[in-house]
Symmetry: C2
């Protein structure tokens, strides 16, 4: 259960978790396969995960981090000493940081249906050995949570000190609390919602249409001989386009204006030329984001995971948000961001209302940030100031030993 | 100069202009061809236009309507008695309506670069007889205005009682005032801006990328043997996608939520099926909008006209908004819409500030509407209440006779 963490190794950042490795476990081996929310069955399921810090002897200091749509298990640290890229929430996780690895045991796993090591549509179907493609069963946020729960139990943990997530990760947090109200001692739900808005569904629909109308999509069977090479084959133009439009929705108008405005990319005067595709900096930036994305993400996973977001509707499933969230003793921290128009504050306030009406313990803040939906990934210090006392207090109340 | 208007013909709407016909004129015949803002030259230029009402003997009652990105010259009335579709601003134009055809002479023309009768990339190049495609020269909002000015002069009109337009039409209004400050007696600019925002450029970039990465785009030479059939050939999937994403930006989050919410299209329960593409009503609606759009619009025109919007920056061209707008004696009416996030009110207020600083006569209202950017097309009554007195007062002050 020891985290795979090497010492910071001369790093100038004493708060880094250092070099980490992704771990793998196989769950839901037949005959104990998972019955999905749709009724379909799936198994075995491989899960890619990382852990940081050490699990206490009483197994009471575990925190599960739920990643967002295109995230992965690699939350913090680096995969090698010469890697230039840290985990996606590196500033939040480490010794002395909000998710303090000198006190807590942090777990993050790649989601079911993803493409970063956990079973998803690019993985071989156990019967045919060929990639699932669109034969992969439909999955929901609840199915994602069930796999995480199985992982946590496999690690010998019955109760979590906290679950933490933003956006689709926040949906997982809410669904987890609804499914296993007694398993959670605190829940941190950032820039999220009890259901995806119609506007959110609309943008997802555009992204999916971009992928499925790309002639290289081939009805999902685009992997060729080596399914791990999905970054080199398939609906690259469509997936890049899906990312471009999604990326706009992650930023605020003000942040785009501030970062790019109407600045030109390569010159100080307008070219009056329709062929120069990347004349404004914002265009160049979006094209770059699209291009980078297709190197790391599978188009089929994008279809399945956006569909899981569309389907998420906690009140519809449980009768009401109150029913869904009123059964737990967990202490909640909910944040929204003033400039986030994809998951507006009104949606967080609906969650908060349901918690207050059922007399749950909740702290809610609408935070000022210019970064739009991406704020939850970027405004680390704001988050640290809120998360640190929540975890300390929750741990103080519930830990069995000193 | 008489408008091509038949009597309402038993219509139950006495305020309709009735049956109208699109007219055509050829301008900028060599050697008097148009020098574009880019320095390129273009001519001859065919212009499709419609007129409603009668020009007064003193030629002092003419109003020019500037259409938006995907509009056309057909503002009001019907093209035939059995047509089910009226012009795009029918509720605003007619006897007794805000643009009162019993008093005023209304003109609207399809924009340069468009695909509804005015010369654009789908038209034959005069030298080769083949469609221009991407050989069509780059055009700006200013070039569009120059063609309209030439049309107005060809109609024997020196001064306009008013110019009216929303969105890209509003940009034309502002550019017209800047270029020909003495030609305009009143200017109505709705849901528009002195420059397109970076976010607006970003959404346009996505739409253009959808078109140009469609394999059927063929670098713009997709017309086949009959260029008028562009609705049946070319980057249909890409153009539909461009329309889908643009359409989302024309609606407010609240109007999407109110109209569609999370309602399903064909059933009352979730299908848990990735293959059913149109499960939510909002998806079905967007796919329908995309499909309908490709029947009436040319992908190359979409590229050129969105680029013209991107380039529009009045302050950059004239040194400041004050310089651009401070030279006219025209009376301004500026409106923005509370729920319009594509052209937010802050952009209209910049225009208003420039007008106030130069002591121009301006009325500004931020109107309440749930319809987002599309409000200027839909909130006819609000508009009528503002436009009617502006025109009456302007006409009273300036007309030469009774």
């Amino acid at each position: 259960m020891t985290a795979e963490i090497a010492p910071p190794d001369g790093s100038d950042d004493a708060q880094s978790v250092g070099i980490v490795q992704t771990q793998f476990v196989r769950l839901f081996e037949p005959p104990s396969i998972l019955t999905l929310e749709s009724g379909f069955q799936l198994g075995p399921i491989n899960v890619a995960f990382e852990t940081y810090g050490e699990l206490s002897a009483d197994r009471d200091n575990a925190i599960f981090v739920c990643h967002a749509l295109t995230g992965d298990a690699h939350v913090a640290g680096k995969h090698s000493a010469d890697s230039r890229k840290s985990g996606w929430w590196d500033g939040l996780v480490g010794p002395g940081r909000a998710l303090d690895t000198s006190k807590y045991f942090i777990i993050c796993a790649n989601v079911l249906g993803g493409c970063q090591g956990t079973t998803g549509p690019s993985c071989p179907h156990p019967e045919t050995g060929q990639p699932y493609g669109l034969r992969f069963p439909f999955i929901t946020v609840g199915d994602i949570v069930e796999v995480h729960v199985a992982l946590v139990k496999k690690l010998g943990i019955d109760k979590l000190l906290a679950i933490v997530g933003g956006s689709l990760g926040g949906m997982q947090v809410l669904d987890w609390v609804a499914r296993y109200p007694d398993m959670i001692r605190s829940a941190v739900c950032l820039a999220s919602a009890g259901k995806l808005s119609a506007q959110g569904i609309a943008f997802n629909a555009v992204g999916r249409r971009a992928i499925t109308t790309d002639p290289q999509f081939q009805n999902g069977d685009y992997y060729g001989l080596d399914p791990s090479k999905y970054g080199e084959v398939g609906p690259r133009a469509g997936l890049a386009l899906a990312r471009m439009v999604a990326h706009i929705t992650y930023l605020s108008e003000a942040s785009i204006e501030r970062k790019f405005g109407r600045d030109l990319q390569h010159s100080d005067h307008l070219a009056y030329d329709l062929h120069s595709e990347t004349e404004f900096k914002i265009e160049s930036y979006l094209h770059y984001q699209g291009k980078r994305f297709i190197e790391r993400f599978d188009a089929n996973s994008y279809l399945y995971l956006t569909r899981a977001m569309d389907y998420f509707d906690l009140a519809q499933r449980y009768g009401s948000l109150r029913n869904a969230l009123g059964q737990t003793e967990a202490r909640f921290l909910i944040t929204s961001y003033h400039s986030d128009w994809l998951f507006p504050s009104s949606q967080s306030r609906e969650i908060v209302s349901a918690l207050l009406e059922t007399h749950r313990h909740v702290t809610y803040l609408e935070l000022e940030s210019v970064f739009g939906h991406d704020s939850f990934l970027l405004e680390i210090q704001q988050l640290e100031e809120l998360v640190t006392p929540l975890l300390r207090e929750t741990y103080r109340r519930y830990r069995k030993t000193h």
